[in-house]
């Protein structure tokens, strides 16, 4: 039904296409990559791009091209998981706050505000500093940082839907709070949540690569795009492609989610900025 409208939006389609391409690359990485991304070969350090190594090698002799290809897996994995964590917790908190109101609302929103009082990357850095470098720690850190986005959006939706009459009717007919919440209210909140999710996914990829670049993300030797860029600093002068390629990969992945997100936003709620 609105799939047709989605299909009409060219930007959205391009975005979806890019995302799909990324997913495919991630899934088919073993077939696309030319080498084992983790294989060290000291004899071939800092090689320039050649037929053998499309984008050259890093200081451990690892093939950059293959590392970037496998990097897609890490980016998608981490961002999807962290957004799932953030969305789940955000929905729980937001709907509780919106539905029950009163002190629960106050308390939850204060906590949410406190989280939002930190610049996102800063909070993620702080958490990673404490937890240490590990993929699941990144998921937790980013998942925590993005909770407020979802909590606020869900709370807003719940508040507006709560007032509608069919909720009263459903309660009058004997439905208990949880049923009403799940069957009637939440399904109607999904639209803004989905829009937020695409934005959060875009952010998560950027954040994860920044964290890795600082050495606070997926620990080496994981071929996260941020890690690759960090390693590339040693060879920046000789092998420009080594610096460019991972960045382009990040940009494309993020672009896909942003394009799709924009299209979804136009479709689902033109007033959501």
């Amino acid at each position: 039904m609105f799939l047709r409208r989605l299909l009409k939006n060219k930007m959205g389609l391009i975005g979806a296409g890019v995302i799909l391409a990324n997913i495919l690359v991630a899934l088919l990485a073993p077939y696309i990559a030319t080498h084992d991304p983790l294989k060290i070969d000291i004899t071939n350090q800092g090689a320039l791009p050649s037929e053998e190594n499309l984008f050259g090698t890093d200081e451990y002799g690892r093939d950059i091209f293959s590392r970037v290809i496998y990097g897609t897996r890490i980016s998608l994995y981490i961002s999807v998981l962290s957004v799932l964590v953030a969305a789940t917790l955000g929905i729980i908190l937001g709907s509780t706050a919106g539905y029950y109101g009163g002190w629960a609302d106050n308390l939850i929103m204060r906590v949410v505000d406190a989280i939002m009082s930190f610049p996102a990357i800063l909070l993620a850095i702080g958490i990673m500093a404490v937890l240490g470098g590990h993929i699941y720690n990144v998921v937790l850190a980013l998942g925590f940082v993005y909770i407020p986005w979802f909590a606020r959006v869900v709370r807003g939706s719940v508040l507006s839907i709560k007032e509608k009459e069919y909720i009263e009717a459903s309660l009058a007919m004997g439905g208990n709070d949880l049923t009403v919440l799940f069957r009637h209210i939440l399904p109607n909140c999904m639209a803004p949540v989905i829009v937020q999710a695409t934005a959060a996914l875009a952010y998560a990829i950027l954040a994860e690569s920044a964290l890795s670049f600082l050495g606070l993300g997926a620990p080496p030797p994981a071929p996260s795009w941020g890690n690759i860029l960090s390693d590339a600093r040693n060879f920046m002068l000789d092998n420009a492609l080594m610096t460019i390629f991972p960045g382009v990969a990040i940009t494309l992945a993020v672009l896909g989610f942003n394009l799709l997100g924009d299209a979804l936003r136009d479709l689902l709620d033109p007033r959501l900025k």
């Binding site: 930007m11 204060r110 906590v111 505000d113 406190a114 989280i115 009082s117 930190f118 610049p119 996102a120 990357i121 800063l122 909070l123 850095i125 702080g126 958490i127 500093a129 404490v130 937890l131 240490g132 875009a202 950027l206 690569s209 920044a210 670049f213 600082l214 050495g215 606070l216 860029l229 590339a232 600093r233 920046m236 002068l237 420009a240 610096t243 460019i244 991972p246 960045g247 990040i250 940009t251 494309l252 993020v254 672009l255 942003n258 394009l259 924009d262 900025k273």
Partner: protein, 314 residues
């Protein structure tokens, strides 16, 4: 209007309180013993115990929090484990660089964003507009630190237009300092420029359709005045909120940008301290930056009332 100001400030207190709790808990969530981690693997049990006691880590948690909080109020942010210097002092030395960087980034970004957003709204649905939307979507997709790396590589190292090592503060020498700050500020500010530009455009589009804009024209005002005075003042209010939020992104991004460009700012100091497990520094610096961010948003909230006087009723 004063009531609105007072309300906003009062509203802040519990939030700031929670912020301090969160920062406090950060250290105490470290897996393992903070003291042991700070001293490293070679430390003996006895040394760890002494440090624990010195740091007050053997007291109950709420008590530790109270002690910590009261020293924060006195301006004592603890001391670096490695250099033994007060964290507050290090913050004061390094923060100006970060502040300069973020302010410059913000200025550049607003100089780019506001005119282009206005023009895009004015030329809505023409090719110029589509070009704008394309550019801004790209702008929010490019990672800032990568942009910084690329700029550093091409403009500094290859072309030599900007220095690639060393540092001169803008306080000492404005123009020379600017040469050191320009590329970092540019790479940091681009994201914000794209976000704010879109916000201005959509806000202007909404406002330009409203009746008071037609009315302004009906009074005989020049189109320029209609757009920059009547439309923009109203359109700016929602964009202002975005700008405040984006300042936070700038503070966070500064950490990464300072690392890319090796600037002696607070951000790089935090990163280095993390490598060295100098937790008091990390804790104190993050708390400081969070408070700065909260204050900036308070200022933004207060400014909002200037652009949209109707706010006092909500």
């Amino acid at each position: 209007m004063l009531k609105y100001f007072a309300k906003r400030i009062v509203y802040l207190v519990p939030t700031v309180f929670l912020v301090t709790v969160m920062v406090f808990l950060m250290i105490h969530l470290i897996p393992g013993d903070p003291a042991a981690l700070m001293l490293g693997e070679d430390a003996t049990q006895e040394e760890v115990k002494v440090l624990r006691h010195a740091l007050g880590l053997d007291k109950p948690l709420p008590v530790q929090y109270a002690i910590w909080l009261s020293s924060i109020f006195k301006g004592d942010f603890g001391a670096s484990v490695h250099t033994k210097r007060p964290v507050a002092q290090s913050i004061m030395e390094r923060f100006p660089v970060t502040l300069t960087l973020t302010t410059l980034a913000m200025v550049i970004s607003l100089l780019l964003a506001i005119p282009s957003g206005i023009l895009a709204a004015y030329f809505h649905a023409t090719r110029k507009d589509y070009l704008f939307m394309g550019a801004t979507i790209l702008g929010v997709s490019v990672p800032g630190f990568w942009l910084g790396l690329v700029l550093l590589l091409f403009l500094s190292v290859n072309l030599g237009w900007f220095p690639s090592t060393g540092f001169v503060s803008m306080g000492e020498d404005l123009w020379e300092g600017l040469r050191y700050m320009l590329l970092p500020a540019l790479s940091l500010g681009l994201y914000m420029a794209a976000v704010v530009a879109r916000m201005i455009r959509s806000s202007m589009l909404e406002v330009l359709r409203l009746e008071y804009v037609t009315h302004a024209r009906a009074k005989g005002l020049r189109e320029w005045t209609v757009i920059t005075k009547h439309a923009l003042k109203n359109a700016f209010a929602p964009a202002l909120t975005t700008i405040g939020l984006q300042f936070g992104a700038l503070l966070g991004g500064a950490v990464v940008t300072e690392t890319v460009f090796s600037l002696p700012g607070l951000g790089k100091y935090i990163v280095v301290s993390i490598y060295m497990r100098d937790y008091p520094v990390v804790q104190g610096s993050i708390l400081f930056l969070a408070i700065v961010y909260v204050l900036i948003n308070l200022v933004v909230d207060l400014l909002y009332g200037y652009f949209d006087p109707r706010i006092e009723y909500s």
